[in-house]
């Protein structure tokens, strides 16, 4: 199989998906709801997500070369598999839309201040489309090449914030009920590991290299938690006002104003991260679409993605506030079903398959 990715590349993809929708708007939204206790909320959500990783390996060990769609088909019938794939499809397209909308608003503030939606489409969509058409291997390879640059940019933004006054955020301000409500409320922003389930057949699995994936997953989660901590430590009570967390760590470092616009580093980092995230979710969408309609060609799948993207953006989403509101109103239901129920289902399937293998073996 040519279009396969190594465990390291899979780890890098996970790391980059972990950043999705969490590095700009989420810290402010969470602070508005549960103050600095948002950190506990994301730790809980990350812990749940981390548990998905051994489930993924278990599934891969039991079904080494099979597609997720084929696995689900075997155990849930064709209709069941298609329903799950349809939910995954919706999950992926809304992830792309959310990522794009948040980043678009960020760039609008930073660069032009006027509408430049067509330029944004032209900048993002061809690259995203090309990534899918090229396949997962070249996409993962590109991510691998840029990964160190992204990490350097991300860590730079975090380190720079240390040069300003940082005080320990005030924790335990919200009730446990609110913390767990936020776990549900922001469920859609998590569950990014699902993408790995979708491309499970394309991972060149080696048991000895499992730790590589654990490492990259842990790295991504650690950096996000650190971002939350530094952001809340820096802005404290006004955290809810700063919608671009990673960039704001740099922009409001007053001491560096003399040097000039250091925020260009945050811009570049966010741009790369966004591009790769959109590529990942676009790939996920198209792969799901091909799973639902196996007779479709890759080209048709990407055209459907583009059309769905335009239509949803213009007709249903339009304004960024609408999609942000959707992520905390009805999308969490999808986030919980797909993000947590599917891995549990995969765990059950793996256990059944494992027992069957034991009996037959």
């Amino acid at each position: 199989m040519r279009d396969r990715i190594s465990m390291r590349q899979a780890g890098i993809i996970i790391c980059l998906t972990i950043f999705s929708n969490k590095i700009l708007l989420l810290p402010a939204l969470m602070y508005n709801f549960i103050k600095a206790d948002g950190i506990f909320s994301i730790i809980i959500l990350f812990a749940l997500e981390f548990v998905c990783l051994p489930i993924l390996f278990l599934l891969k060990r039991n079904f080494p070369d099979e597609k997720l769609h084929d696995i689900l088909k075997k155990y849930l019938t064709v209709v069941g598999a298609k329903i799950i794939y349809f939910m995954l499809l919706v999950f992926m397209i809304f992830k792309v839309l959310l990522t794009f909308s948040i980043v678009y608003v960020y760039f609008k503030q930073q660069i032009y201040q006027n509408e430049f939606i067509w330029i944004a489409f032209v900048a993002f969509l061809p690259v995203v489309n090309h990534a899918f058409m090229s396949g997962i291997k070249p996409t993962a390879r590109t991510m691998e090449l840029f990964f160190s640059v992204i990490m350097a940019g991300f860590i730079f933004c975090l380190v720079i914030s240390l040069f300003t006054t940082i005080s320990t955020p005030t924790f335990f301000v919200s009730s446990a009920k609110n913390i767990f409500s936020s776990v549900y409320k922001y469920a859609f922003t998590f569950g990014d590991l699902l993408f790995m389930f979708v491309i499970i057949d394309k991972i060149d699995y080696r048991r000895r290299q499992e730790r590589k994936m654990y490492f990259y997953t842990f790295l991504g989660m650690l950096l996000v938690v650190l971002l939350f901590f530094l952001f809340y430590g820096k802005y404290q009570i006004t955290s809810f006002m700063h919608n671009n967390a990673l960039a704001d760590l740099l922009v409001f470092s007053v001491q560096f104003n003399a040097i000039g616009r250091l925020d260009i580093i945050a811009m570049l980092t966010i741009m790369f991260i966004t591009l790769f995230q959109m590529e990942i979710y676009c790939y996920g969408f198209c792969d799901c679409l091909l799973g639902i309609f196996p007779l479709l060609d890759k080209k048709y799948a990407i055209v459907v993605f583009d059309l769905a993207f335009f239509i949803l953006y213009y007709v249903f989403i339009g304004k960024y506030e609408v999609i942000v509101h959707a992520t905390v109103s009805w999308l969490p239901i999808l986030g919980v079903i797909i993000g947590y129920a599917l891995p549990i289902l995969c765990l059950i399937i793996s256990i059944i398959k494992g027992r069957k293998n034991e009996k037959s073996g």
């Binding site: 503030q109 201040q113 032209v122 090309h130 802005y235 006004t238 104003n257």
Partner: protein, 416 residues
């Protein structure tokens, strides 16, 4: 060759790249420079007049010229709302306004009679006014302050944010930025401290830091623009006067203007606040009554917050390293800077009294205005949360808390 071109054109990315070039290159080439459409605002002033608002913009217009001198001018617009005033200023300037480069925001005292956050919030959210902009108040009009600052910059290259930056570092010991204002505004005590710069009228002949400029006014459009800076001949020009004062704000409204001594009293509990001068009179030295001035060279603070008999007690031990910087008195030989000095019990007693008086009078102001800008609420909340929350319920809210705190301040004075 033909085959190679055919092969290259099969690459969809290349085709897309060529299409992008075809669509956007001509557009980019024919569109005017961004400085034609957009004015860069480096400072913004908001004045409340009798029945309307005036927004003044200190703008920088990049123009090709032989020298490196930047052309700045103050452009203003009036309107019955902030949005309308800003719109009129935009019309006067003939460009879209970009506030993301604004380093200073000035408001006049009258605007601080109402909740200033309502106005500032509009600018932050709608026009991208950065939260790290320096936020100050002035006694007369923000427009005049911007004009005077433009003149100051032209003559001696000193910018307004540099002046206030010194105050912020040495007197307020906090940023006097919008961010700092918001932090106080949204805190439990809803109090903040912002810089205050006054303008004084000067005889035009005595003015050194102003230039003459042409002033045009447009009464119908509600806007005016003033090229260069300063006032016309014969008019009284105004000059910036920095006394190191600050405005104490509660719920976005001005409570009191604080002098340097009052600020020093507030900052006694702030470890970063150094270099204050403490003067004591009538110190006996060989039958002479002398005046000693000491500088706080270093500071260590041990703080403890507890509840004793159900009441909050804030204990602080301040270890101050003092340097004798001046002795005034009839003895001529003593009018020198002295590096080594002995702190006699009499000096220690007088210094202790002076420091305690400074702190007590500062505390009195904070209690009177119910403005906890020294973070006492926050300290108790962090260190004694349960007792604090219980106590707050009995006194009707966190804003009253400062009034009930017993301060036990102990000074240990050392010669440095």
């Amino acid at each position: 060759m033909k085959n190679r071109v055919k092969k290259m054109l099969k690459n969809p990315m290349l085709i897309i790249f060529i299409l992008i070039l075809i669509f956007f290159t001509p557009q980019a080439l024919i569109s005017p420079g961004q400085n034609r459409d957009r004015g860069v605002v480096i400072a913004i002033g908001i004045d409340q007049l009798e029945s309307e608002y005036e927004i003044s913009l200190l703008t920088f217009i990049p123009t090709a010229q032989n020298s490196y001198k930047e052309l700045t001018s103050v452009i203003s617009g009036k309107g019955d709302t902030i949005a309308k005033a800003l719109y009129n200023a935009q019309i006067t300037m003939g460009r879209d306004i970009g506030l993301s480069h604004a380093k200073t925001t000035v408001v006049n005292e009258k605007l601080l009679e109402e909740d200033v956050a309502e106005y500032i919030d509009y600018l932050s959210r709608v026009t991208s006014l950065s939260e790290n902009t320096v936020f100050i108040c002035t006694n007369s009009s923000a427009k005049e302050l911007l004009e005077a600052s433009s003149a100051l910059e032209t003559s001696v290259g000193l910018q307004l944010e540099q002046i206030i930056g010194y105050n912020a570092k040495n007197l307020y010991v906090t940023d006097t930025s919008l961010e700092a204002f918001y932090k106080g505004y949204y805190s439990e005590s809803k109090s903040s401290l912002i810089g205050y710069i006054s303008l004084t009228s000067e005889d035009p002949d005595a003015s050194t830091a102003t230039q003459t400029g042409a002033e045009q006014t447009d009464a119908e459009g509600g806007g005016s623009s003033e090229g260069g800076s300063g006032k016309q001949d014969g008019q009284q020009s105004k000059q910036i006067k920095n006394d190191g004062q600050a405005v104490l704000i509660k719920n976005g409204k001005k409570q009191q203007i604080l002098s340097v001594d009052e600020l020093n009293g507030i900052n006694l509990l702030n470890i970063e606040s150094l270099n204050q001068i403490i003067t004591i009179n009538d110190v006996n030295y060989k039958d002479n009554k002398l005046r000693y001035s000491f500088r706080i060279k270093n500071k260590r603070i041990n703080k403890v917050s507890t509840f004793e008999n159900g009441y909050p007690v804030y204990g602080a031990q301040l270890i101050l390293g003092l340097e004798l910087v001046e002795i005034d008195g009839p003895h001529e030989n003593l009018k020198i800077n002295t590096e080594f000095s002995e702190l006699t019990p009499e000096i220690v007693k007088k210094l202790d009294d002076e420091l305690k008086t400074q702190f007590t009078s500062a505390l009195k102001i904070l209690r009177k205005n119910k403005t906890d800008v020294i973070g006492i609420n926050e300290t108790f909340f962090k260190e004694n949360r349960k007792e604090y929350n219980r106590f707050i319920k009995t006194i009707g809210g966190p804003e009253n808390f400062l009034e009930y705190v017993n301060f036990k301040i102990n000074f240990i004075l050392e010669s440095d």
